[in-house]
């Protein structure tokens, strides 16, 4: 839609017209300011934890393991120098070869989600796939952080409490009608 609008503005005599093709999805995914009726609804990027350990393809796995264990984590996200996600190394699944490089042992192309997805929506996806975490990235593939299902559930419950509704674990599912 925006290329046509840009062309129309030029036809109306505007000479300095630019087209931000990736638009608001890209803007919101980068965590930049938004306005509007739904702007205060929390999104994946708002609650993703930004403390991932990252490494490069050529990092030796013995060093990666040490760095990950030092901070009590279980994974290292393999990224480019520009922070684009390439893979993931799960420390508990490594076998033997400490001289290997991250590239040799990483899982390529881990699943990511955009940073502007609503928490209700992402919880459905996480529940359907029965996973506890998912990487959050920008539309151009850069790492934002890791989203924990428990954080999503807590945040949604807090929202319900603020709205005066019972939290998920307070709903009585077996009471007599």
């Amino acid at each position: 839609m925006s290329p046509r609008a840009a062309a129309r503005l030029e036809s109306l005599g505007f000479t300095k017209v630019f087209d931000y093709v990736e638009g608001k999805a890209d803007w919101f995914a980068a965590g930049l300011p938004r306005e509007g009726r739904l702007a205060s609804v929390p999104r994946t990027g708002d609650i993703a934890r930004r403390d991932d350990v990252t490494c490069r393809l050529t990092d030796r796995i013995s060093d990666v393991v040490n760095r990950v264990r030092e901070v009590g984590k279980e994974t290292c996200i393999v990224t480019t120098a520009g922070n684009v996600v390439l893979g993931r190394v799960r420390i508990d699944r490594l076998e033997g070869d400490t001289q290997a490089l991250a590239e040799d042992v990483m899982e390529s192309g881990p699943t990511t989600t955009r940073a502007d997805i609503t928490l209700e929506s992402i919880l459905e996806r996480l529940s359907a796939r029965d996973v506890d975490t998912i990487l959050v990235g920008t539309s151009d593939g850069r790492l934002v952080g890791t989203l924990y299902r428990s954080d999503v559930e807590s945040s949604l419950n807090e929202g319900k409490l603020e709205a005066g509704q019972p939290a998920e674990d307070e709903v009585c599912c077996c009471c007599e009608p």
């Binding site: 925006s2 290329p3 129309r8 630019f18 931000y20 306005e35 509007g36 151009d140």
Partner: protein
Amino acid sequence: MPTSIAREEVQRLMREEAAQLVEVLPTQEYQDEHIEGSINLPLKRLDRETAGRLDDNRPVIVY
């Protein structure tokens, strides 16, 4: 031919050249959520009159 730009250039143009950011999606979508500081000129209503809201001396960025 309008120039396609990425987020970093959008931010630079807004900061350094007081660019005007225009959402051309329908009003409902704009009201739901839009980029801070943008205005709404839906494509379907974009004509000489509505475009009159814009300053033609400053860059215009549409999305």
